[in-house]
Amino acid sequence: MSDNKAMVDAKITRLKAAVNLEAHDKVPLAAMADFWPVRYSQYTMQEAFYNMDVAAECYKKAFGEWGLWDAFNPLMNSLGPFLDATGSRRYNVPGRDLPPHAEFQHPDLVLMETEEYAELIANPPKFLAEKAIPRLCRKIGSESAYVRGVAWAKAALFFAEFMAKGRSYAALFQNEYGIPPLFRGQSLYVPLDWLADKVRGFHQGMLDVKERPEEVAAACEALAPFIVDACLAGVPEGDYPLIFNPQHMSPFLSPRDYQRVYWPTFKKMVDEVVQRGYKLWVFFEDKQEHHLECFQELPKGKVVACFESTDLAKAKKALGGRLCIAGGMPTVLLTRATPQEVKEQTMSVLKLFEDEPGFIMTCTTVVPSTARPENLHAWLNITQEYGRLGGGPSVPARNGPTEARGAAGRAAPIPEGIVTSWEAVRPEFGQIQGDENIIKENWENLEKLSLTFLYWMVR
């Protein structure tokens, strides 16, 4: 076993033990970022946004300098060519709509009218293909069949290459830099977040919660199976890496509204994902003390609760010993504080969780592109030096790496959801002379991928 492989195995074991709330040697360090090292590597955001190889070069340089992460997810959203090819308005693009060094941003878009709730509820992927995506992507919404066809083709080609490159770089970062990924598959959105962020617009989504809660709740119920299937199609079974669930609207809702339109399908979705053998990293945006009681109902040892601004002492009191908690380093300290202030914050969080194996040290959102190198060094080194858990065995044998790889290598369960079922399309084939199953299986495999593709198109 090479030194690098042994190190990776130890990191994965440590992270899994923390998620499982089991004793281990030291506090795991995990993080995610989009274009964090681009500025540091002296590229422009535009160069990285238009070329994943550039983004990956930046990560190689950064991982060479900061290699202490137990897991890291580089969200290399180098989407420029796809957005141009389809005319998508989803992002404000560095170098195109923004200065070349600015970070990409999302405008708040309304892609669904109030009276279209019933249509969305009846068939979410059909609504995406026929309404939302053509409205989002000007070329796909073109009156010209030629322009539309070429735009869809380019989108599909880009999607295939984007996914393949992402997987290939994740393997490279693990094998050559000793940094395993934190997440896999598509981001799993809670139905209300998907409804608001992807089709209704965030502002309008908040108003819908107040003005038409019954329709919103019905839409969330209809969206939950679609989102789970689209997110997990093709994702190998296993409890590591984790499924990423970023939340957006939950902090803005009162407990009453939360119970009415957010929590029921969030809980249902978590239960379904866990039942399929996965574990989740849930990013609880902003302050969520008012929902902590609900989170106690999430399945024990199956969910990492990552908090942005929620008081970690309150979170520990409510969830300690039940869910693994992640957080601790506010992004703004990395960008603006002194190394001494970063050290003090790190020590204070380590002290809070010194008796709690279910804790992962992480940045409160993504590692920011303006993080000061000396602050990153201070944060990682102090966590490494002082984040030792009293008396725990260094590597619990029963969570060994062989089991981890074995689990990750099993075939994915067959998702229920597809766009057009074989039964629906079968009559078009008439009499089949050979083996119908060969045609059916291949039809369904591509259908499942197309579900993920439609979900990805409005990301």
């Binding site: 941003q105 502002h203 803005f252 902003d286 992004t331 960008t335 603006r336 303006t370």
Partner: protein, 216 residues
């Protein structure tokens, strides 16, 4: 026909949009003083602010309240202009999301709440550079400039804007209040702001305090 004996303050503060709008229509129809109606709307918004502070209401409730107020003002505006007594404004606030940041939900909510609370609001939009803000200070003379950002990276932009206001010799002309997820009272002071608002409701309180402080 709406029951005009039911309190408008109650309807708005309970976020019963339809009842509130029906009441406003009925009271305009029967010839009530539009400024008296507006005063009741503001009382309701004060009540909503209190419920936000006690964590009965959250951001989505404030956004909905701002939407109700906007609908009411579309009915009441023509009546107010007709009587044109011109209520005394609580102060003038210029508000912007800083350069390189396009997030406007927080900024829009603060602008709506300030408007509802009786301030004259100059909304400069999003991705606003320092020179636009300096020109606004020179030409429109706001009492307060409110700056918003969402991204950690644009705190630097906020600091640059405050620095440029100072560099242009305009810092003594205005008070500056800032808000946004990456900020804290300590960071607000460090980048040169006079005050920090943790929420839309608090931003209004801070603007009132800053204007009262300037007047002394």
């Amino acid at each position: 026909m709406a029951d005009t004996n039911v309190s408008l303050v109650t309807s708005i503060s309970e976020l019963d949009a339809q009842a509130a709008l029906d009441l406003v229509k009925a009271r305009i129809a029967r010839g009530d003083d539009p400024e008296a109606i507006l005063t009741e709307c503001r009382q309701a918004l004060d009540e909503i602010g209190k419920r936000f502070e006690t964590r009965e209401y959250f951001i989505a409730d404030l956004v909905f309240a701002a939407s109700i107020f906007k609908d009411i003002m579309s009915l009441l505006g023509p009546e107010l202009r007709r009587v044109a007594k011109g209520q005394q404004k609580a102060g003038k606030v210029a508000i912007a999301t800083v350069k390189d940041d396009i997030h406007d939900i927080g900024k829009n909510l603060v602008a709506s709440m300030l408007d509802a609370a009786g301030f004259e609001v100059i909304d400069l939009g999003v991705d606003v550079p320092a020179d636009v803000i300096c020109t606004c200070i020179r030409e429109q003379k706001p009492d307060v400039v409110g700056l918003s950002c969402l991204m950690t990276s644009t705190v630097d932009s906020m600091e640059d804007i405050i620095s440029e206001i100072s560099g242009s010799g305009l810092r003594g002309e205005v008070k500056i209040v800032v808000g946004g997820i990456p900020l804290s009272p300590k960071l607000a002071a460090a980048i040169g702001a006079d005050s920090y608002g943790d929420s839309a409701a608090e931003a209004i309180t801070k603007c009132r305090e800053l204007i009262r402080g300037s007047a002394r």
